[in-house]
Symmetry: T
Subunit: 155 residues, 12 copies
Amino acid sequence: MAKIHGPLEDNERKTTGEALQASVVDLIDLSLVAKQCHWNVTGRSFRSVHLQLDELVDIARKHTDELAERAVAIGVNPDGRSVKVAGDTRLSQPDPGYLQDDKVIAVATDVLSGVVSRFRERIRATDDTDLVSQDLLIAAAEELEQQHWMFEAMR
Amino acid sequence: MAKIHGPLEDNERKTTGEALQASVVDLIDLSLVAKQCHWNVTGRSFRSVHLQLDELVDIARKHTDELAERAVAIGVNPDGRSVKVAGDTRLSQPDPGYLQDDKVIAVATDVLSGVVSRFRERIRATDDTDLVSQDLLIAAAEELEQQHWMFEAMR
Amino acid sequence: MAKIHGPLEDNERKTTGEALQASVVDLIDLSLVAKQCHWNVTGRSFRSVHLQLDELVDIARKHTDELAERAVAIGVNPDGRSVKVAGDTRLSQPDPGYLQDDKVIAVATDVLSGVVSRFRERIRATDDTDLVSQDLLIAAAEELEQQHWMFEAMR
Amino acid sequence: MAKIHGPLEDNERKTTGEALQASVVDLIDLSLVAKQCHWNVTGRSFRSVHLQLDELVDIARKHTDELAERAVAIGVNPDGRSVKVAGDTRLSQPDPGYLQDDKVIAVATDVLSGVVSRFRERIRATDDTDLVSQDLLIAAAEELEQQHWMFEAMR
Amino acid sequence: MAKIHGPLEDNERKTTGEALQASVVDLIDLSLVAKQCHWNVTGRSFRSVHLQLDELVDIARKHTDELAERAVAIGVNPDGRSVKVAGDTRLSQPDPGYLQDDKVIAVATDVLSGVVSRFRERIRATDDTDLVSQDLLIAAAEELEQQHWMFEAMR
Amino acid sequence: MAKIHGPLEDNERKTTGEALQASVVDLIDLSLVAKQCHWNVTGRSFRSVHLQLDELVDIARKHTDELAERAVAIGVNPDGRSVKVAGDTRLSQPDPGYLQDDKVIAVATDVLSGVVSRFRERIRATDDTDLVSQDLLIAAAEELEQQHWMFEAMR
Amino acid sequence: MAKIHGPLEDNERKTTGEALQASVVDLIDLSLVAKQCHWNVTGRSFRSVHLQLDELVDIARKHTDELAERAVAIGVNPDGRSVKVAGDTRLSQPDPGYLQDDKVIAVATDVLSGVVSRFRERIRATDDTDLVSQDLLIAAAEELEQQHWMFEAMR
Amino acid sequence: MAKIHGPLEDNERKTTGEALQASVVDLIDLSLVAKQCHWNVTGRSFRSVHLQLDELVDIARKHTDELAERAVAIGVNPDGRSVKVAGDTRLSQPDPGYLQDDKVIAVATDVLSGVVSRFRERIRATDDTDLVSQDLLIAAAEELEQQHWMFEAMR
Amino acid sequence: MAKIHGPLEDNERKTTGEALQASVVDLIDLSLVAKQCHWNVTGRSFRSVHLQLDELVDIARKHTDELAERAVAIGVNPDGRSVKVAGDTRLSQPDPGYLQDDKVIAVATDVLSGVVSRFRERIRATDDTDLVSQDLLIAAAEELEQQHWMFEAMR
Amino acid sequence: MAKIHGPLEDNERKTTGEALQASVVDLIDLSLVAKQCHWNVTGRSFRSVHLQLDELVDIARKHTDELAERAVAIGVNPDGRSVKVAGDTRLSQPDPGYLQDDKVIAVATDVLSGVVSRFRERIRATDDTDLVSQDLLIAAAEELEQQHWMFEAMR
Amino acid sequence: MAKIHGPLEDNERKTTGEALQASVVDLIDLSLVAKQCHWNVTGRSFRSVHLQLDELVDIARKHTDELAERAVAIGVNPDGRSVKVAGDTRLSQPDPGYLQDDKVIAVATDVLSGVVSRFRERIRATDDTDLVSQDLLIAAAEELEQQHWMFEAMR
Amino acid sequence: MAKIHGPLEDNERKTTGEALQASVVDLIDLSLVAKQCHWNVTGRSFRSVHLQLDELVDIARKHTDELAERAVAIGVNPDGRSVKVAGDTRLSQPDPGYLQDDKVIAVATDVLSGVVSRFRERIRATDDTDLVSQDLLIAAAEELEQQHWMFEAMR
């Protein structure tokens, strides 16, 4: 039983909440994967990739917070604990150890491609349930798709 | 075989690297636990606790990055992927769902107490292996112990 | 007869204009109610509530201006005069004099609950008439619903 | 019975409080009238008048807050609710709808003339009751009289 | 054959890409027309018009960049070369030489009226193809319609 | 014999100088008492009180400097040495050790009540001797009385 | 016949206007004398005196503008033309050519002593005519007397 | 017949005006070419080239505005309309579509080489006609030649 | 006999020094004339003219300081005392009292026309004596000629 | 019995706490002595000494707060009340009244010499008890020794 | 015979001073080598290397100043004159002329490797002589080792 | 054989390049000499001289970078390595050890006098070879001659 009484009907809240919770997991793990690459990348393009990844981390963190706070505002509890993220994540993981720059670019492009695809599903899913949450998902998708282009352009 | 040739001997690098890697796991999970509480806290002290936790998140993230970059600078690969954090974390986890403010204060105090205690061991461990890494661990401990006081004072 | 020739058809302008004008009244009175509470609140949570209310005032004022300027941009004159606001407002009013902090939190939560509910109707109403105005209403609703959560969490 | 024990005697508090409360009503309605003109003004001088009015709004809001907080600091509850403002205001109101620029300049000049005249009475009234409140009234009058000059110079 | 693999189906990409490309041409030429007027305007309202036009230039440039980058992000190459802009523009052009202020106001109002009308078509066109691009078009339309009002109000 | 030749007659300087010197002692000790509470406060309201006290410290320090520099500008040497402050202070002192939040709120309210009362006497005393110094005392009183209200409201 | 209708009676306006106009002349010439010294000073204390004089210039210019705008706000035309300043100034002038640092300190101290003395007369003169103008004169005197102390302290 | 009476003789104005107008065309098209490349570049050096091009855009825009305003200040109307730019430009144009990074570097180097060469002619041409305009051309040339070096160094 | 040993020969210093001193007089009086108009202007264009004049004051003051410091750097004492400025100025003076906006625009245009003409003579005069001083005169002329255009465009 | 459970053993806390408490007293009194000199200094070096002393005050205050908060973070209550400071201070005190600049320089040098010497003892004392507190003491010593050099260099 | 009486014993001062002086030489030459490469680098990675080197220059300069000021604070005169640096430097020097990017990366990595190694010796050497100087050396080493990693990662 | 193809003819490049290279050596050594004095200066004027020298260092560094980048932009490799600077410098060097303030002022004045004199030769030399480089040399000379005046004025 939710303590916060958001503006949605039960079924709207359920659908919207699932979209937000899944996005939170996507974005937290995106920030962790990006940091992992940020630290371990090597190669001639080290500086460009290292900096680009920190822009990605900032984007992931900003939208994580906005979507998680949106979840609680509609009366759904976001769950961003490490065990939840590790268990639910759908991002393919980079190997431990040094990561060559072209490998990092490929990882980032692929990971972003998957995240973006799932965000577009959630934008569709919330079209009938909550236009406010949808607007936040669109704003996140916009920046994620921009990042996707930038990494893919480096390939 | 490390690609980055840091300034340490092999055994120094091993001890120091373990201290840094364990700290990275501590701090990433600290940031995730603090965010989890930041989102789900309720109660009359909501605003104070909500804001205090974001200061804690900032501190955890700043030192995560400094210690992880320090690791790679000495030729040790930090691992901050979600599965690694979830598997290695020693932080007790908050329950999912709403968290009453006094409960959050207790969780934060206890979690910080454990983290601080492990940082002090690592400060001792690096005393003979790498004073530069030790200095970064001391700087982190200082801010973590300050946070510990502030949460404990709220009890 | 409108002097500004906005981009809408007459019936679109009428529906959209009504949604915007009603929002302007809601938000001006929200800013006045929030300031009234900001000044007269007492109690142990004085500082948290006093500051939270000023964030609410800033939000109310920002969106008032955006929605009123949107109205005139589509050729509808917004009316934000005190007599209009006092006559049309649907916000329940706090009593004069000192207001205990828990009372203020209840007032803010209830007032925001009503405002949010009306904004959602207007979002639906403008779906077929003006997506630009709808986008501004969504942006306002997002921040208002966030404030609603924060006050309700304090209860 | 006041809960806040300000530094004044009862009769000082009564006189000072009346001056402050009346000023709060003047300034809130001044901000609403100025915004009304800011949104609905037309004519060749649109930009100058539109911008000048927003400076006036900022001044009105700043001094509203200072004087209302002063009131509560001396143990008098300010009342800035819409119904109070609409009922007590002594400002002549602009018509609804578009407002030609020369009309707006005339309205602003006249409204400010009245407000300034009432502030000077309140400065005299508080000379024997509270020099601190008087100082705040003088600071407000200074900026209001400067605005009055600027609008009158545009006539 | 596109090198960047954006998130859209082929037909979605085609429709969306055409909307974005046409918007880029509109906005580049809008910035050039506005600068032309900004430099050559004369008359008593010189300063107001000169400054208002630079705000319009900033708006046009900001949205040009966002929409062009959006195009490439979905795998469509934006074309903003001078020969393309000159060939495709649908903006009526100001005469060379000095431009009297009332003439500039009329030009800006008319040019913006046309641009806004085309943006609204594109918002409709992208409703079924890409909500992210639509959101960017809505954000641009909002500021362009605001500018349209401000110039028309000066007439 | 004064080395700085301020603008006052001897008796004006004497009366004004005494008011300023006594204010300097009040404000220095106020800053020390506030810091003492800032460090040692405990309780659920820790964060609110801790932060409010630092605002008070800033206010006390700012006015200390302005009043002490005013003293020397009129040819009177301010004395803010610790032994002078400890000897002349009229502020009741908090106990050493931890201070419960409600205790701190009571201490701050009472200490400010006394300081404010003495400032009002000095404002009266300088009415005939130096309007410039009086203006600085009024400015200090205004902020101190605002703080008094805020702490009293928390009771 | 004044075009701006300030809030004062004729005799109040006359007395206040004379005080403001004379202050404008004092402060413009103070800024010119200070710049003359700023440029031509020599000696071991060059840097300290050169920088201190620019603070004095800033103060003189700020209060010139505030007092001149106050004059026109009450319906009195300020006159700050060079021939007026040169004709009416009561400041003793530095010699042309290089100025030794101790000479500059003496000049600044003496000039400020005279200006301050005249400001105090004007503060008295406006006590019955316009408390708003008086407040501006007090604010100017405060900073001028502070500057006087600083130069005299360097002697 | 020019409306603005600049400080130059007719023949000076003619020569100088031609130099400025030609520079305006060069710089507007430089900004458009640079943006075209900024959006469509691909390749491992994407990030470096993408960012470097935006610095070039900023430089081109800043000097466009300064030189165009200089033209009108001497009584010559600048013409920066798209049809004029497209017709008069001497910059070789990049192909539409994706642009490989080495191709972009070559284009930028060559385009800048041509622009710089024409600017040096204009600096010579204005040596006898207007030293003020020449100074602005020199300032532009300095930054353009710096950009030329940076792109050529990347080859 | 100069105390500062600048880099110039005697005759170079004499010619350059005269150019700089005459410029200092021009610019100080320009700042005083502009302020006189800034305060006393009336008319529908009040705001535009009032603000434009303050930009002119800033420009005049900035270049006064640079040219006067340049004079002393080459061993020539600048003289900017009021009696010198009033005696040497070649600027026609506005009448005392209110100044209608079209009158102010005419005054500013004419005064700037004269100043600009004299600056161009000084740029020629210093061509053979000191390129550094010439560069500062060119920089001043550039901004003064820009201001001249802007005022003339308003006619 | 401490309420805050810091990370230290009892004997570590006792030694560390004594070092921190004694430092707090040193630094509070240093800030008071420096302010006393800042206000009362006279002499040709007035400006340099006056400003240098305010840098010293900032340093003293910053480290006071850090060390006092460190004390409570390890479970020791700092005591910075005026009577405690006056009673425990080991700083030799300046005389009341005017202080000649060379006298101030001597006082500051001597006082800093003593403070620095005691900080070095405390750095040694905490080497075995708390490396975090030691790090804060080292940071304070570094800035205090820099100030000591600067004052001694002025002798 | 030292004029500044730092806090160290003679032998402590000698050892510490030698460490600081050698570090000053290392860091000055590091800044010169880095600037030499910053200017003369060519190759596809020009921009990344050019910018990375300026970060290195900033780091080298910041620590040069801190260590040199530390030296004088303990009574040892730093010597950073060019002849001293050229004579004592242990950095291998880049060739004159253009430097290919991979060559620059190799040079920077090797030079930093040597500097870092010498800093670690100095950290050991000062462990018994001056913990404050040691702390500054550790802070410098931390940033230098981070730079070393970043250049080595680019190899 | 130059890799960068600047805009100059061979003989122009040779003459200009020599002027730039010699300036780079002058300015690097000026920054080193100024820092040497900044660290080792003593005497009553310590603070003024210490701060003035850091302004000189900033100026020297800024122009070093601009002139060295200009050299490479025209296809000439600047050489700023320590051995080059030490070998080619024409600045007389200060003695090692403490430097009395009047000695430092004399050194700075003399060194600047020589540098300025050589810059003027280079301004003449580049008059026929490269007006862009000349403009940068003039800008440097302007600030260096200003510094020269300021130090000479302190004598």
